[in-house]
Amino acid sequence: MPALNRYVLVGVVVFCLSLLATIGLLAMRLEATFTKLGAAQATLEEALATSNENAKSLKRLADAAERDGKVTAALAADVAKLTGQSQKLQAQIRALAEENEDVQTFLRVPVPDALRRVLERRGTTEDGNVHALDAGSTGTSLP
Protein backbone atom coordinates (compact mmCIF):
# COMPACT_ATOMS: atom_id res chain seq x y z
CA MET A 1 0.00 0.00 0.00
CA PRO A 2 2.73 2.51 0.79
CA ALA A 3 4.23 1.96 -2.67
CA LEU A 4 0.84 2.61 -4.24
CA ASN A 5 0.46 5.82 -2.22
CA ARG A 6 3.87 6.94 -3.43
CA TYR A 7 2.85 6.39 -7.07
CA VAL A 8 -0.38 8.27 -6.51
CA LEU A 9 1.52 11.09 -4.85
CA VAL A 10 3.99 11.27 -7.76
CA GLY A 11 1.10 11.24 -10.21
CA VAL A 12 -0.61 14.06 -8.36
CA VAL A 13 2.62 16.08 -8.28
CA VAL A 14 3.19 15.52 -12.03
CA PHE A 15 -0.42 16.46 -12.75
CA CYS A 16 -0.12 19.62 -10.65
CA LEU A 17 3.16 20.59 -12.31
CA SER A 18 1.74 20.07 -15.79
CA LEU A 19 -1.37 22.03 -14.77
CA LEU A 20 0.83 24.89 -13.54
CA ALA A 21 2.86 24.79 -16.75
CA THR A 22 -0.32 24.89 -18.84
CA ILE A 23 -1.67 27.81 -16.80
CA GLY A 24 1.64 29.63 -17.19
CA LEU A 25 1.64 29.05 -20.93
CA LEU A 26 -1.95 30.23 -21.22
CA ALA A 27 -1.10 33.31 -19.17
CA MET A 28 1.79 34.13 -21.50
CA ARG A 29 -0.42 33.68 -24.56
CA LEU A 30 -3.11 35.79 -22.94
CA GLU A 31 -0.63 38.54 -22.25
CA ALA A 32 0.65 38.39 -25.83
CA THR A 33 -2.94 38.55 -27.07
CA PHE A 34 -3.63 41.58 -24.88
CA THR A 35 -0.50 43.24 -26.25
CA LYS A 36 -1.63 42.58 -29.82
CA LEU A 37 -5.10 43.78 -28.95
CA GLY A 38 -3.68 47.00 -27.50
CA ALA A 39 -1.61 47.60 -30.62
CA ALA A 40 -4.59 46.88 -32.84
CA GLN A 41 -6.71 49.28 -30.83
CA ALA A 42 -4.05 51.98 -31.12
CA THR A 43 -3.87 51.42 -34.88
CA LEU A 44 -7.64 51.54 -35.09
CA GLU A 45 -7.78 54.79 -33.12
CA GLU A 46 -5.10 56.28 -35.34
CA ALA A 47 -6.99 55.22 -38.45
CA LEU A 48 -10.17 56.64 -36.99
CA ALA A 49 -8.45 59.96 -36.24
CA THR A 50 -7.05 60.07 -39.79
CA SER A 51 -10.46 59.25 -41.19
CA ASN A 52 -12.06 62.03 -39.14
CA GLU A 53 -9.39 64.47 -40.29
CA ASN A 54 -9.98 63.43 -43.92
CA ALA A 55 -13.71 63.86 -43.49
CA LYS A 56 -13.13 67.37 -42.10
CA SER A 57 -10.82 68.19 -45.02
CA LEU A 58 -13.39 66.94 -47.51
CA LYS A 59 -16.08 69.04 -45.85
CA ARG A 60 -13.82 72.09 -45.93
CA LEU A 61 -13.16 71.52 -49.64
CA ALA A 62 -16.85 71.01 -50.36
CA ASP A 63 -17.72 74.19 -48.44
CA ALA A 64 -15.00 76.12 -50.29
CA ALA A 65 -16.26 74.81 -53.64
CA GLU A 66 -19.78 75.91 -52.71
CA ARG A 67 -18.59 79.40 -51.74
CA ASP A 68 -16.52 79.65 -54.93
CA GLY A 69 -19.52 78.57 -56.98
CA LYS A 70 -21.66 81.26 -55.37
CA VAL A 71 -19.16 84.05 -55.96
CA THR A 72 -18.58 82.88 -59.56
CA ALA A 73 -22.33 82.87 -60.18
CA ALA A 74 -22.67 86.32 -58.61
CA LEU A 75 -19.89 87.68 -60.82
CA ALA A 76 -21.44 86.10 -63.90
CA ALA A 77 -24.76 87.75 -62.99
CA ASP A 78 -23.03 91.12 -62.56
CA VAL A 79 -21.23 90.79 -65.91
CA ALA A 80 -24.46 89.74 -67.64
CA LYS A 81 -26.23 92.76 -66.19
CA LEU A 82 -23.42 95.12 -67.23
CA THR A 83 -23.32 93.60 -70.72
CA GLY A 84 -27.07 94.06 -71.02
CA GLN A 85 -26.80 97.69 -69.95
CA SER A 86 -23.99 98.26 -72.45
CA GLN A 87 -25.98 96.67 -75.27
CA LYS A 88 -28.96 98.80 -74.34
CA LEU A 89 -26.78 101.92 -74.47
CA GLN A 90 -25.41 100.93 -77.87
CA ALA A 91 -28.95 100.38 -79.13
CA GLN A 92 -29.97 103.82 -77.84
CA ILE A 93 -27.04 105.41 -79.63
CA ARG A 94 -27.91 103.61 -82.89
CA ALA A 95 -31.54 104.66 -82.58
CA LEU A 96 -30.49 108.23 -81.84
CA ALA A 97 -28.19 108.23 -84.86
CA GLU A 98 -31.10 107.16 -87.08
CA GLU A 99 -33.52 109.79 -85.86
CA ASN A 100 -31.15 112.69 -85.18
CA GLU A 101 -29.23 114.12 -88.08
CA ASP A 102 -26.79 116.04 -85.85
CA VAL A 103 -25.86 112.86 -84.03
CA GLN A 104 -25.50 110.98 -87.30
CA THR A 105 -23.26 113.71 -88.69
CA PHE A 106 -21.13 113.74 -85.57
CA LEU A 107 -20.69 109.97 -85.54
CA ARG A 108 -19.46 110.10 -89.13
CA VAL A 109 -16.85 112.76 -88.48
CA PRO A 110 -13.47 111.24 -89.29
CA VAL A 111 -10.85 111.17 -86.59
CA PRO A 112 -7.78 113.16 -87.66
CA ASP A 113 -5.06 110.79 -88.82
CA ALA A 114 -2.51 112.02 -86.29
CA LEU A 115 -4.91 111.48 -83.37
CA ARG A 116 -6.16 108.17 -84.76
CA ARG A 117 -2.63 106.78 -85.08
CA VAL A 118 -1.86 107.70 -81.49
CA LEU A 119 -5.09 106.22 -80.18
CA GLU A 120 -4.79 103.03 -82.18
CA ARG A 121 -1.21 102.38 -81.10
CA ARG A 122 -1.52 101.41 -77.50
CA GLY A 123 0.68 99.31 -75.31
CA THR A 124 0.69 97.88 -71.84
CA THR A 125 3.08 99.65 -69.53
CA GLU A 126 4.85 98.20 -66.51
CA ASP A 127 1.98 99.19 -64.24
CA GLY A 128 -0.29 96.89 -66.23
CA ASN A 129 -2.43 99.68 -67.64
CA VAL A 130 -3.02 100.38 -71.28
CA HIS A 131 -1.80 103.77 -72.45
CA ALA A 132 -1.35 105.47 -75.76
CA LEU A 133 2.23 105.04 -76.82
CA ASP A 134 4.53 107.99 -77.04
CA ALA A 135 3.39 110.00 -80.04
CA GLY A 136 6.99 110.73 -80.96
CA SER A 137 7.64 107.09 -81.70
CA THR A 138 4.88 106.98 -84.33
CA GLY A 139 6.12 109.94 -86.26
CA THR A 140 2.98 111.91 -85.41
CA SER A 141 2.54 114.67 -82.91
CA LEU A 142 -0.36 116.41 -81.23
CA PRO A 143 -0.78 120.14 -81.79
Binding site: A74, D78, L82, S86
Partner: protein, 63 residues
Protein backbone atom coordinates in the same frame (compact mmCIF):
# COMPACT_ATOMS: atom_id res chain seq x y z
CA UNK B 1 -9.41 81.77 -55.54
CA UNK B 2 -12.11 80.97 -58.11
CA UNK B 3 -10.92 81.05 -61.72
CA UNK B 4 -13.54 83.62 -62.69
CA UNK B 5 -12.05 86.14 -60.26
CA UNK B 6 -8.55 85.98 -61.69
CA UNK B 7 -9.38 86.23 -65.36
CA UNK B 8 -7.60 88.99 -67.21
CA UNK B 9 -9.62 92.18 -67.45
CA UNK B 10 -10.97 92.93 -70.94
CA UNK B 11 -9.01 95.52 -72.91
CA UNK B 12 -11.08 96.88 -75.75
CA UNK B 13 -9.31 98.34 -78.75
CA UNK B 14 -9.50 98.56 -82.47
CA UNK B 15 -9.62 100.87 -85.43
CA UNK B 16 -10.93 104.35 -84.71
CA UNK B 17 -11.66 105.97 -88.05
CA UNK B 18 -14.67 108.05 -86.98
CA UNK B 19 -16.24 109.71 -83.96
CA UNK B 20 -18.76 106.86 -84.04
CA UNK B 21 -15.94 104.39 -83.53
CA UNK B 22 -14.71 106.51 -80.63
CA UNK B 23 -18.18 106.39 -79.10
CA UNK B 24 -18.24 102.60 -79.54
CA UNK B 25 -14.80 102.41 -77.95
CA UNK B 26 -16.05 104.53 -75.06
CA UNK B 27 -18.93 102.13 -74.50
CA UNK B 28 -16.65 99.11 -74.71
CA UNK B 29 -14.16 100.73 -72.35
CA UNK B 30 -16.88 101.54 -69.82
CA UNK B 31 -18.12 97.96 -70.00
CA UNK B 32 -14.57 96.67 -69.57
CA UNK B 33 -14.00 98.95 -66.59
CA UNK B 34 -17.30 97.99 -64.97
CA UNK B 35 -16.60 94.30 -65.58
CA UNK B 36 -13.14 94.58 -64.12
CA UNK B 37 -14.44 96.59 -61.15
CA UNK B 38 -17.03 93.90 -60.46
CA UNK B 39 -14.28 91.31 -60.62
CA UNK B 40 -12.14 93.27 -58.18
CA UNK B 41 -15.08 93.81 -55.81
CA UNK B 42 -15.91 90.11 -55.84
CA UNK B 43 -12.25 89.20 -55.34
CA UNK B 44 -12.02 91.52 -52.34
CA UNK B 45 -15.24 90.15 -50.85
CA UNK B 46 -14.07 86.59 -51.44
CA UNK B 47 -10.72 87.27 -49.77
CA UNK B 48 -12.31 88.98 -46.76
CA UNK B 49 -14.78 86.13 -46.37
CA UNK B 50 -12.04 83.49 -46.57
CA UNK B 51 -9.93 85.43 -44.05
CA UNK B 52 -12.87 85.68 -41.67
CA UNK B 53 -13.43 81.93 -41.94
CA UNK B 54 -9.75 81.25 -41.29
CA UNK B 55 -9.79 83.56 -38.26
CA UNK B 56 -12.90 81.88 -36.89
CA UNK B 57 -11.32 78.46 -37.42
CA UNK B 58 -8.14 79.56 -35.67
CA UNK B 59 -10.14 80.97 -32.76
CA UNK B 60 -12.14 77.77 -32.33
CA UNK B 61 -8.92 75.75 -32.47
CA UNK B 62 -7.36 77.74 -29.64
CA UNK B 63 -10.42 77.31 -27.40
Amino acid sequence: MPEALVQACPKPGGALPTAGALVDELGATRLALDTCAAQVDKSRAWRENEQALLDAEAQSATK
